[in-house]
């Protein structure tokens, strides 16, 4: 459980694929709504399933960085703003989870998911505001919008965590999740 092996990298890559598919399905639904964090809220329950699975199998610090980092690199083909805010969010998450020692327990994974998706809303809003200029910056930075959206993103992430844990249980029952 100490060193990263080939099977870990491959598993993480496939979790990234799952998260990417979740993006492809959910993001077009909310693309045009100018509410900060709305895309994260819709994306989080589905992406959270794969993020949780990856955490459950890999367990180490850096698991989120590996899964989301690859996603950020993949999505750089669409827009560098996406890469930027994803990287910022993963850095926040790994920093917070560093002190908890990784993702070994269910609680760790819950916190990891909630923190990641909540920070994704914040970093998305901040970076989006900065690049779009003053008008949007003012709109987005209004606390009465951003704070509830951030909280809702965390909750959406928790929903993804909950579904992910249910699947983890099924995988274990079927003997398919050998850690």
């Amino acid at each position: 459980m100490s060193r990263w092996q080939l099977r870990d990298y491959v598993f993480a890559a496939f979790m990234t694929i799952g998260i990417a598919i979740a993006s492809v399905i959910t993001v077009p639904l909310t693309l045009s709504i100018p509410l900060p964090g709305i895309r994260t809220i819709v994306w989080a329950p589905f992406a959270g399933i794969f993020l949780t699975l990856g955490m459950a199998r890999l367990q180490r610090r850096g698991s989120v960085a590996l899964m989301i980092g690859t996603l950020a690199l993949l999505l750089s083909r669409i827009s560098w703003i996406i890469t930027a805010f994803l990287v910022a969010a993963l850095l926040v998450t790994e920093a917070v989870m560093w002190f908890r020692g990784g993702y070994r327990s269910r609680m760790d994974r819950l916190i990891g998911n909630a923190v990641f998706f909540a920070s994704a809303t914040v970093t998305g809003a901040v970076i989006g505001a900065y690049t779009a200029g003053q008008a949007f910056g003012a709109w987005v930075a209004q606390a009465w919008i951003l704070v509830p959206m951030t909280l809702l993103s965390g909750v959406a992430g928790a929903i993804g965590w909950w579904m992910g844990e249910k699947i983890v249980t099924q995988l274990q029952r079927a003997g398919k999740l050998n850690v």
Binding site: W4, L6, R7, Y9, V10, F11, A12, A13, F14, M15, T16, I17, G18, A20, I21, F46, I49, F50, L53, L66, G69, T70, L71, L73, L74, S76, R77, I78, S79, W80, I81, Y130, T131, A132, G133, Q134, A135, A138, W139, M163, K166, I167, Q170, L171, A174, K176, L177
Partner: protein
């Protein structure tokens, strides 16, 4: 289509794109940013085939953006400036992506001597994303075959799509790991870089032209 950009060194393209974004974020005058955007648009339209209806949608979105900006800031030039700056930031990524195949990107990253697992992860994601999409398509069909119309019964998405899909993905992940080993892949062992990146004439031309454009932009700004 203008094929020039396709043969430019990917690392150079990344570098220039980053430079464009940095410069765009530090500009303040409308004229400077306009020149940048015009150049980028020329590159964009000559490199990528874009459908008319997509172009119209984007044009409408930009107009709405400018109108929103004018309304909140009471200054249409400022709103236009922000719109153009946004374009300058968003355009390099698709231009780069379209003119660089994923394999070229992977080779570029390898040449940068990044840890091999980064390159591996990107390669696997690129290769198996369509495969997994096909698997989800088959699972969706299997749902129809058992009389479940998922679009009308969203509460069945979990057991009907996500659980079977996860099982397929986990199964693939383990099989692919074995597959990689049967091909002799070792993330920790040294690997050849079979097509090392070279600096060619196109790269020099591209650099010179880019520096010229930056020079003009800087002149207009200051």
């Amino acid at each position: 289509m203008f094929k020039f950009l396709f043969s430019v060194n990917p690392l150079l393209k990344i570098g220039i794109s980053l430079a464009i974004v940095t410069i765009a974020l530090s500009l303040t005058t409308l004229e400077a940013v306009s020149v940048l955007v015009v150049v980028l648009l020329i590159l964009f339209l000559t490199s990528i085939r874009i459908q008319v209806k997509n172009a119209i949608v984007i044009a409408i979105a930009l107009t709405v953006f400018v109108m929103f900006g004018t309304w909140t800031l009471n200054n249409w030039q400022l709103a236009l400036f922000y719109a153009l700056r946004l374009l300058a930031i968003l355009l390099p990524a698709p231009v780069f992506a379209f003119t660089t195949s994923p394999t070229d990107l992977v080779r570029a990253l390898q040449a940068m001597k990044l840890p091999s697992f980064i390159v591996l992860s990107l390669m696997l994601t690129w290769r198996f994303l369509p495969v997994i999409q096909q698997e989800s398509q088959r699972i969706l069909e299997a749902n129809q075959l058992r009389g479940v119309d998922l679009s009308r019964r969203p509460h069945l998405w979990f057991s009907g799509l996500f659980v079977p899909l996860v099982f397929r993905i986990v199964s693939y992940a383990d099989e692919v790991t074995i597959g990689l080993e049967t091909r002799g892949y070792d993330p920790n062992a040294p690997r050849t870089i079979s097509k090392p990146l070279t600096w060619q004439a196109q790269d020099t031309v591209f650099t010179i032209v880019s520096v010229l454009v930056f020079g003009i932009v800087a002149h207009l700004e200051l």
